[in-house]
């Protein structure tokens, strides 16, 4: 399975209201981060959770965000980061 993004690419997480078993928390939606690594392809949890096969598989990445991007009033150090797993269909180039 091909990955659309590579480590170092800037991506924006989609701002989408989607009900169901979604693994993209609201606090990262609409935020911009950097691909940290390609994790690999996994069954799509959005269908897997309801007894389906999870096919087609979705490419999964770890995305690195500066905490200041997520929380404008973040009180820690500017270098502090949050890293999270995001599926390819939840991101766009930034």
């Amino acid at each position: 399975m091909e990955s659309r993004y590579k480590p170092g690419d800037k991506v924006r997480i989609l701002q989408r209201n989607q009900p169901g078993h979604v693994r993209t928390p609201i606090y990262v939606r609409g935020k911009t981060g950097v691909i940290e690594r390609i994790v690999g392809s996994f069954p799509n949890p959005e269908t897997l959770a309801y007894g389906h096969s999870g096919l087609p598989y979705k490419m999964l990445y770890r995305v690195n965000f500066k905490q200041g991007e997520l929380w404008p009033d973040y009180e820690g150090a500017p270098e502090d980061t949050l890293e999270i797993e995001i599926y390819e269909h939840w991101m766009a180039p930034a």
Binding site: R23, T24, P25, Y27, V39, G40, F42, P45, A49, L60, R62, Q67, L70, W71, Y74, E75, G76, A77, E79, D80, T81, L82, E83, I84, E85, I86, Y87
Partner: protein, 222 residues
């Protein structure tokens, strides 16, 4: 069934906390999933596919896993650079040496250093590296830890007694999907001559979740 499903906390938010009580009340009424589980289990036993003893033994084996396995892995990484490299880059191969299979999940090991402190949370539920650390602590599943660890990690760390200098980067890992996380804490200075079993006593559950460092050396004296 993947670890995902029984890790989730859906529907458990019924206004009181069982943890820490001497006697736990039964949740009433039963959740739909509990009724389903009982029905499937009874059918499997009735049809002779598994026995009640098989199920009991599997639960006992799962419950017996604990942080000592994680401590062995950490100490091996401290004392064997080739193993550490493998653990950080290809954890499946490294874990196989300990007879651990994380499938269908993968383990992501994140290393603390003089400049970086790692901390793990699952904001969506309570995903946890159960094959290595066993059952997660009650606080790991609590809503306040899950919400605050990503929002104000340094304040949360401070409440755990872990005060970090401003020039040390805090990296929070939200374990929200298919990876599980293990923090590789720093080996304390002054332990160069320690034996493996002495070193293992330093490595705590909380240090592998990343809410603290390993035990202080003076905690082990006497």
């Amino acid at each position: 069934m993947s670890e995902h499903h029984h890790d989730h906390e859906h529907g458990h938010d019924h206004g009181h906390d069982h943890d820490g009580k001497p006697i736990q009340e039964d949740a009433l009424p039963s959740l739909e999933a509990q009724i389903l589980e009982t029905s499937v289990r009874e059918l499997l036993i009735e049809k002779g596919i598994v026995s009640a003893e098989d199920i009991r033994r599997a639960i006992e084996a799962m419950d017996s896993r604990g942080e000592s396995l994680g401590a062995k892995i950490v100490v091996r990484a401290w004392t064997d650079p080739a193993f550490k490299e493998k653990l950080l880059t290809s954890s499946d191969d490294a874990l196989r040496e300990f007879g651990i299979n994380m499938s269908p999940m993968e383990l992501c090991v994140v290393e603390n250093s003089d400049d970086v402190h790692n901390m793990v949370v699952c904001t969506l539920c309570s995903c946890y590296p159960r094959p290595i650390l066993g059952i997660p602590p009650a606080w790991y599943k609590r809503r306040d830890y899950r919400a605050r660890a990503v929002r104000e990690p340094r304040a949360v760390l401070q409440e755990f007694g872990t005060v970090l200098p401003d020039n040390k980067q805090v990296r929070v890992h939200d374990s929200n999907a298919d990876l599980r996380y293990l923090v590789l804490p720093q080996r304390p200075a002054g332990t160069e001559d320690w034996t493996t079993s002495q070193l293992e006593k330093l490595v705590t559950r909380d240090s592998m979740i990343g809410v603290s460092d390993v035990r202080r050396l003076d905690e082990l004296v006497g």
